[in-house]
């Protein structure tokens, strides 16, 4: 039974553990790290020719080279290598077992139930065991996630960041922007700018007091980073990074969480453009030009991916193209020292907003990687977290306080300025203490992979610690509001048990797949209801099977096209709220509901 349960926890951790092992420094495995040392053929097809220079490099120096040339020295050297190799392997395996035990304990149902009883289900607290695993694995005595390993994990991390940016962008249906209720843009702006400004200013002052100079670019970078991290919010019930596309009927927190992530993306765009290290590059461009390089690259990659995903003729090929595209995009971004999140975000927006039949397939593949990538972030966040530095903890109250004050100011301002324009309940649903977005964690992890200075460690502590404190505050202050939210009907659940691809016991009473979460405007699949067959690659929208009648949520009547167009033209400027006619309470949705794959633009003529 225990073995089975450990195995169950094994799967979500699989990718991470595998990559950790894969990137354990070769030096710890002895000079050659392979059976080649004693002339064995045991390397099989796995060993590329380049293994030799690598081995040579680690052996280092001419004396060793001369020794290697002398066969008589080979046995003793091989013997020493064997011992080192075995020790390193045992250490790694031992560390892995420790990780697995921790993962098992952290994800055990009793622990999850205990968490639920405490009411914590947010981005960090629900995944806190994995943050703890990262911290444990980076502990010197364990030495699994040491600096070298983290450095070697950078490719995986970059890919994960690219994936994250792509999926956030892909879920941003820009037609939603035409349909959000009046005044929402103002609400988003003030709710994002408030926490951004107050947190950045407050924490900046404290960091200055801690010794960072005003003319040190790191201080300004850290201020923007903290401000952006504070500005972003998550829905009360965190479901990971997928399935957060807003549609009419979902809570305002989902909409705002989706849209205020733009603040984080824009913050990253500017950080990577204006805080660059120019020493090791051949392109000499002014900082502002890098903003346009980022935008141009994102658009170019987006167009390229859009063209590429039309080529595959099978799921296997589709998987290869999507993975290759995101890896290529994030690699390009990393190579140019830009943010993979930004570049892939732009690409994602383009790919899924151009009319195409591959949108569902893209999401299906992206969904598969949700859990490993998210857990990877949490583990790496734990690994780069220097818990012992008190200065980071000193920033936590400021970070949380600044965020709360900023949100409160934003809510008040928006109520005062555009309260009459907002749909019924929109402003009332906003609370000053709101959970932090998962992107905040990704943001600091991303920066940790690009920069290295003491102040960044404080930022990591401030954001992770701030997320934990925030979520505790959320639970203390949260007032449930009865909103028609088709997609948010699940009970609290840990982050690694939310998607239906997770492990399911064969002999478990509830072995049936967990209730799927509806992602479109029309459908919400209750437990036990039959799910429509998945759409195959390239299958035209028209040929998709219709949903069972019981699952179709009533569709609001479309307005006549001419009237709709007139209204949209009148309301096009969100900021010109004063010119728009205030409507009389209640949510007024412009046009018909938005659904995935609705390439025709919903209510557009």
């Amino acid at each position: 039974m225990i073995v089975r349960r450990v195995l169950m926890r094994f799967a979500p951790l699989a990718i991470i553990a595998a990559f950790v092992v894969a990137y354990v420094p070769a030096s710890s495995a002895g000079p050659d790290g392979s059976a080649a040392a004693h002339g064995s053929a045991g390397s099989s097809e796995a060993k590329p020719p380049e293994a030799r220079p690598e081995a040579k490099g680690s052996a280092g120096g001419e004396p060793e080279a001369a020794e290697a040339a002398d066969p008589a020295h080979a046995p003793s050297k091989a013997h020493a290598t064997n011992e080192n190799t075995l020790f390193a392997a045992i250490k790694v395996i031992g560390g892995l077992i420790a990780l697995l035990v921790l993962a098992y304990l952290g994800g055990h149902r009793r622990v999850v139930r205990f968490q639920n009883r405490l009411g914590i289900s947010g981005v960090i607290t629900a995944g806190f065991p994995f943050v703890a695993i990262g911290a444990f694995a980076s502990w010197d005595a364990v030495g699994i996630l040491n600096e070298d390993v983290l450095h070697r994990l950078r490719p995986v991390l970059h890919f994960g960041l690219g994936w994250l940016g792509f999926i956030i962008g892909a879920q941003l249906d820009i037609r939603v922007l035409d349909r959000v209720p009046k005044g929402t843009a103002y609400l988003i702006l003030v709710e994002a700018l408030g926490p951004f400004g107050i947190t950045a200013a407050g924490c900046g002052a404290v960091m200055f007091a801690f010794g960072l100079a005003w003319d040190d670019s790191a201080l300004w970078r850290n201020m923007i980073l903290l401000g952006a991290a504070a500005a972003m919010t998550a829905p009360h019930k965190f479901r990971g990074f997928v399935n957060r596309d807003w549609h009419e009927g979902r809570g305002v927190d989902v909409l705002l969480a989706q849209l205020d992530e733009l603040v984080g993306v824009i913050g990253l765009l500017f950080i990577t453009a204006y805080f660059r290290d120019f020493t090791s590059t051949t392109w000499a461009l002014p900082s502002t030009a890098w903003v346009f390089v980022s935008l141009g690259l994102g658009v170019a990659i987006g167009v390229l991916i859009f063209a590429m995903i039309r080529v595959p003729v099978s799921n296997a090929e589709f998987l290869a193209v999507v993975l290759g595209s995101i890896a290529f995009a994030s690699g390009l971004a990393g190579y140019l020292m830009l943010s993979p999140i930004v570049i892939c975000f732009l690409a994602g927006v383009l790919v899924t907003n151009f009319p195409n039949d591959q949108r569902e397939s893209v999401f299906r593949i992206l969904n598969h990687l949700e859990r490993p990538v998210h857990l990877l972030f949490l583990i790496i966040a734990g690994a780069v977290w220097n818990v012992g530095d008190w200065r980071g903890w000193a920033l936590v109250p400021l970070f949380v306080g600044g965020r709360v004050v900023g949100k409160w100011t934003g809510v008040l301002t928006s109520k005062t300025a555009v309260g009459a324009l907002l749909p019924m309940g929109f402003a009332d649903q906003r609370q000053p203490v709101q959970p932090m977005s998962g992107l905040s964690i990704a943001l600091v992890v991303s920066m940790s992979s690009l920069y290295a200075d003491p102040g960044l460690g404080w930022v990591v502590t401030a954001v992770i610690g701030g997320a934990i404190v925030t979520e505790v505050l959320v639970q203390l202050t949260y007032k449930p509001i009865d909103t028609p939210d088709a997609g948010d009907s699940l009970d609290h659940a840990p982050v690694d048990e939310l998607d239906t691809s997770g492990p399911v016991y064969r002999d478990e009473p509830h072995a049936a797949p967990a209730t799927p979460v509806a992602s479109g405007a029309y459908a919400s699949f209750p437990a036990g209801a039959p799910q429509p067959p998945r759409t195959a690659v390239g299958m035209p929208q028209a040929s998709r099977p219709p949903l069972p009648p019981a699952l179709v949520v009533e569709k609001l009547p479309d307005e006549p096209a001419a009237e709709n167009e007139e209204r949209r033209a009148r309301d096009r400027s969100w900021f010109g709220a004063a010119t728009a006619e205030p409507h009389e309470g209640g949510a007024e949705w412009r046009g018909g509901p938005v659904k995935r794959g609705d390439t025709g633009g919903g209510d557009e003529p």
Binding site: L7, M8, F10, A11, P12, I15, V21, G30, G33, A35, A36, G39, A41, G42, S43, S44, E45, A46, P48, P49, E50, A51, R52, P53, E54, A68, P71, A72, A74, P75, N82, I93, L96, R154, P155, H158, T282, A300, A307, M308, S314, A316, E317, L319, A320, V321, L323, G324, S325, I326, A327, F328, S330, G331, A333, G334, Y335, G502, P503, V504
Partner: protein, 434 residues
């Protein structure tokens, strides 16, 4: 047309990015991974239009974008992608093991044994003999006496006889071939690989002793036994672990098995276990002895493994130095012909003596011809273990491997199509993508 345009666009972006910095450590790994994946995929599509195997396209993409031609993928980038090729080998071995159904192999077991003796071991001796006879023209034998030349010829001969289950599996998948020929081919190439690993360990130890070093027979025996038997035992344990997972948990098995492959590929080498044998044993156990139904696992693997294989073969292509191959073309072609002839003759004898079906008699020999990762790995082992002649020997080895990499898949595909077994297998085809 569209794949070609997309290929140009991807290569253009890669070229532009590479002009930014010469420091490949920035984000070279994921950049190279993404680029090779896309380049190999689209090149495969293009060459397939001309009736060539997609595998040739994957290799060609690697050759052209590699360090020796366009330099888009540098040596450092290729090194950093070692984990991908290691994992691909482990996945392949698991799949190859799962393909070896003892019930199906039993009818051709006698042929298999005879092929191993006549074709595999026979080819080792024939190639060694050819090298020995060619020694006046090969500078690697300079300054060696008769015994030393014989030992060196033997160890190089063994290395040159290495096969590639990866290529055979990829082509069997691409052509969806099934039948006695496909079974015999796959089984023979897997068994041959094991034999090469075993014999190479012995031959390299003997050669070390002959050219000046001492030989510890007990230590060598222990080492070889650990590598072969230890790998088998460990593989069975892995197979039981995966089987237990399959029996206990309904989903997540593909991810679990993938993780196992990565761990075995990386840790296995460090404890001197052969990942190929480990995963092969695991696959055989799962298919033939486990009570778990692993068919869903392998089916899931098939649809998810294309990216790994695209990068695996493209990476193999990046290591091919076409100029070096051209410089040593005459001895390379001679040795490649001798090698192929040895396999042909050995297989014919084996098939005739055991009364194998006509299709096996005619075509099975060519399954032993393709080469890829194992031969390259052995070339590097030679380079590292025998600095006095290893470098020169590696030139010949790389040349023969490169020659076979480019030519063999094309011919093997034609033979599979002619055999009549192509298109008989149902299900997902990872290489063809159907």
């Amino acid at each position: 047309m569209i794949p070609a345009l997309l290929l140009v666009a991807v290569a253009g972006l890669m070229h532009a990015a590479r002009s930014f910095s010469t420091d490949g450590s920035l984000a070279g790994t994921e950049l190279a991974f993404g680029f090779l994946l896309l380049a190999a995929y689209f090149t495969g599509k293009i060459v397939n239009r001309f009736g060539l195997p997609k595998l040739t396209g994957y290799l060609t993409a690697g050759v052209i974008s590699g360090q020796f031609v366009m330099g888009l993928v540098t040596k450092d980038m290729a090194v950093s992608l070692k984990v991908v090729s290691s994992t691909a080998t482990a996945i392949l071995a698991l799949e190859a093991g799962s393909e070896l159904q003892l019930k199906k192999i039993r009818p051709v077991l006698a042929t298999l044994k005879a092929m191993t003796i006549f074709a595999v071991f026979g080819a080792m001796f024939v190639i060694a003999l050819a090298l020995f006879l060619m020694r006046p023209w090969l500078p690697l034998f300079d300054g060696m006496d008769f015994t030393q030349s014989l030992a060196v010829a033997m160890v190089i001969g063994v290395a040159l006889s290495a096969q590639s289950p990866a290529v055979v599996m990829a082509l069997l998948a691409e052509t969806r071939a099934e039948g006695p020929l496909a079974s015999t081919m796959l089984a023979s190439v897997v068994v041959a690989d094991l034999c090469v690993i075993l014999v190479f360990s012995i031959a390299s130890t003997l050669t070390t002793a002959v050219i000046g070093g001492g030989m510890d027979v007990a230590a060598t025996s222990l080492s070889v036994a650990w590598e072969i038997l230890g790998s088998m035992v460990f593989g069975i344990v892995i197979g039981m672990l995966i089987g237990q997972f399959l029996r206990s948990i309904t989903n997540g098995a593909s991810l679990f098995a993938l993780m196992i492959c990565v761990i075995v590929a990386e840790i296995g080498q460090r404890v001197h276990l052969d990942p190929l044998i480990v995963m092969l044993a695991a696959g055989i156990w799962l298919r033939n002895f486990s009570r778990a139904d692993a068919s869903a696992l392998f089916h899931g693997f098939e649809s998810a493994q294309l990216p790994v294989f695209l990068v695996f073969f493209a990476l193999a292509g990046t290591k091919l130095d076409v100029r070096e191959l051209w410089g040593a073309i005459i001895p390379v072609v001679i040795i490649a012909l001798v090698r192929a002839s040895a396999f042909f003759a050995g297989t014919r004898v084996a098939a005739r003596t055991t009364g194998a079906p006509e299709v096996v008699r005619r075509y099975a020999w060519f399954g032993l011809v393709p080469q890829a990762g194992l031969a390259l790995a052995l070339a590097n082992v030679l380079k590292d273990t025998f600095p006095s002649f290893g470098g020169k020997a590696a030139v010949i080895l790389f040349g023969v491997v490169g020659f076979n990499e480019l030519i063999a898949p094309v011919i093997l595909r034609i033979m599979l199509l002619r055999s009549g077994e192509a298109g008989k297998k149902q299900g997902v085809d990872f290489a063809a993508g159907h």
